[in-house]
């Protein structure tokens, strides 16, 4: 099971982060756009994986917390002129608080019932976004969400020549990187190990004195808060927030990202997000039937590569190594 020691020693995460930071200098507005999209959704997928891969809870309503974060930050910044930092913090807290409220009901049921409840609560959030015209803008959503004031970046030596979108991208990259670092610390902490124990066998975890529901709820809140963080960043990136952010098809999309990359690995969902977004860009150029293609990909995934890209690569490498040793 031991991976190649050399490959182990390379700090892949740092390398990817540094490479991603170079994207604005490629000069294309489109590349920066794609990279921002990927960075934010990678975080969203990774936050879902705290439930899916680490705690063994299949949430079908993760988009709700993404939506709550996006709406909270956008409404505060647009309607109340609040600063970006305060908007982002409030969005994260709001998403976490809603996750606490809804999660308290959801963790009372297990397995499929849990999935249904998360879905139902997410639809409540969606219905509120869709109907509450005076605050959320209803079906039309809120557009023209202001950019945070990043003028100070222009006065920095290297960043001066970049566009506003590039400045925002660098900010997103730092904030997403920060969130990933915290998330990684969480899953490697004793708390993370307890979650894994619960995933493996809830009854036994209960026997050794773990309050399973309380841990599941804690994981739900943490995952919700990170989704809110991602949502706040996305609303500004998108220059608008729409009810679709909280719709259950969005939740399903995030689930697919996580599965595609591989829920057995910390970075799997992030890789899945990148693959899905790039694939979507490519295929949309040829056909309007992206859902059909996505459905077919999903069927292949379910039947042929259930452990995602990471799982497939891992087992491939193992086979290769066994071959070499034989």
């Amino acid at each position: 099971m031991k991976a190649d020691p050399l490959a182990r020693r390379i700090p892949w995460a740092v390398l990817v982060f540094l490479a991603a930071a170079c994207v604005p200098w490629l000069g294309s507005r489109f590349y920066t756009f794609l990279a921002t999209d990927i960075a934010i959704l990678a975080l969203l997928a990774a936050s879902l994986n705290l439930l899916l891969g680490y705690t063994g809870l299949v949430s079908f309503g993760h988009a709700a917390y993404f939506g709550i974060g996006a709406y909270t930050c956008a409404i505060l910044m647009k309607s109340y002129g609040v600063s970006f930092a305060l908007g982002l913090a409030t969005a994260t807290v709001a998403a976490g608080a809603c996750a606490l409220l809804f999660g308290a009901f959801c963790v009372r049921s297990s397995q499929i019932y849990f999935s249904m409840l998360t879905l139902a609560f997410a639809q409540i959030v969606w219905a509120i976004c869709f109907k509450w015209n005076s605050v959320t803008g209803g079906e039309q959503g809120l557009s023209n969400v202001p950019y945070p004031n990043l003028g100070w970046m222009s006065s920095l030596p290297v960043l001066g020549g970049l566009r506003a979108g590039d400045h925002y991208y660098l900010l997103v990259l730092i904030l997403v990187g920060l969130a990933f670092a915290v998330l990684k610390r969480i899953v490697e902490s004793p708390f993370g190990s307890t979650l894994t124990a619960i995933r493996e066998n809830p009854e036994r975890a209960e026997f050794v004195g773990i309050n399973v529901r309380r841990y599941q709820l804690a994981a739900f809140v943490v995952a919700g808060a990170f989704a809110g963080w991602a949502g706040a960043l996305f609303g500004i990136f998108n220059r608008g927030v729409f009810p679709d952010f909280a719709h259950w098809s969005k939740s399903a999309e995030v689930l697919i990202m996580a599965i595609m990359g591989g829920i057995g690995h910390f970075w799997g969902p992030a890789v899945g997000a990148a693959i899905l977004i790039l694939l979507n860009q490519q295929i949309n150029a040829y056909t309007q039937y992206w859902p059909l293609i996505l459905g077919l990909i999903l069927i292949i995934l379910v039947f042929v590569f259930p452990s995602g890209v990471f799982g497939a690569v891992h087992s491939g490498l193992q086979r290769l190594r066994r071959h070499r040793h034989a």
Partner: protein
């Protein structure tokens, strides 16, 4: 302010919506009860049923019987589709984690949605009300369409028929046994595989039937699959997953809350339904008539 005619109209429209929803949701509940699969594609089957009904009336031409051929025809076509899906794909996922079953049925939602768009386009399609039921009945100054009364009568009839099938026939007994403990049933030598296919087809039949019956009242549009599935989920959650009469009760409550929620929260009646669901879950996590779930 509370005009009795208005209340009656709301009540009738709520009941009609409830019966449509019951027909669809009972199929979802039946499939869940036996196969333990939460079928996201159930709404897609409903949509395909509606499109098939339009297609068959289109082929049969405008005459008095075309609708009565279209309804069973569409339901049977959807049952066949369900049987194929179960035999070819779903069957191989029973031993796997629920996540993969959910994802598979979600893949079907995506695929069937686009297939319907390719075959039938994106414009609204409508089916006229059947000749015998085109009129209306006047009560307290409001006109209740005959078709709505027909649906209100049909819902309980279907419920009763299903209940008799489940409680009085040998297959029904097997279905109840499978819902209770399927490993034990298999160990006793019953052909559980065949039972699963049969139940998936029966559930799909109900979805297709609901879709076909709704065509004279609502226009057929892309996206109707996703709308109905969430409503059907709420109904079975309120009633209790896998509980047949629970689904019936859940549908009636859903319809009435939707119809009268307008009085209390104009524009927010869908919200009233969600609040009701949350309330039911707090008081009875397994649903109104659901059995407590083994962890």
């Amino acid at each position: 302010m509370l005009d009795p005619a208005f209340l009656l109209a709301q009540c009738i429209s709520g009941l009609t919506a409830a019966m449509f929803l019951f027909i669809v949701a009972s199929g979802l509940s039946l499939i869940f009860g036996v196969l333990r699969v939460l079928n996201f594609a159930h709404g897609s089957f409903y949509m395909i049923g509606a499109y098939m009904a339009w297609q068959i009336t289109h082929w049969a031409g405008a005459n008095s019987v075309s609708f009565w051929i279209a309804v069973p025809g569409a339901a049977l076509a959807v049952a066949l589709l369900g049987g194929i899906v179960e035999r070819l794909c779903l069957r191989h996922l029973y031993g796997r984690a629920e996540l993969y079953q959910l994802l598979f049925t979600y893949a079907l939602v995506l695929i069937l949605g686009d297939v319907a768009r390719i075959v039938w386009g994106t414009q609204q399609l409508t089916v006229p009300r059947p000749a015998g039921l085109a009129g209306g009945l006047e009560v307290l100054g409001i006109v209740v369409p005959h078709y709505n009364l027909f649906i209100i009568a049909l819902g309980p009839a279907i419920a009763l028929a299903c209940w008799l099938l489940l409680s009085r026939t040998g297959t029904g007994r097997m279905v109840r046994a499978a819902a209770y403990d399927r490993e034990m049933l298999a160990a006793l030598g019953a052909d559980v595989g065949k039972l699963y296919t049969l139940m998936f087809m029966a559930g799909s039949f109900l979805a297709g039937l609901g879709g076909a019956l709704v065509t004279p009242v609502r226009s057929i549009v892309p996206g109707m699959d996703v709308d109905i599935i969430v409503e059907a989920f709420i109904v079975v959650v309120i009633g209790g997953l896998g509980s047949f009469w629970g689904t019936f009760l859940g549908a009636i409550i859903f319809g009435q809350v939707l119809a009268f929620g307008i009085l209390i929260l104009p524009g927010f009646s869908i919200f009233a339904v969600f609040v009701l669901m949350a309330f039911v879950l707090v008081v009875r996590p397994a649903g109104l008539l659901g059995r407590a779930v083994k962890r």
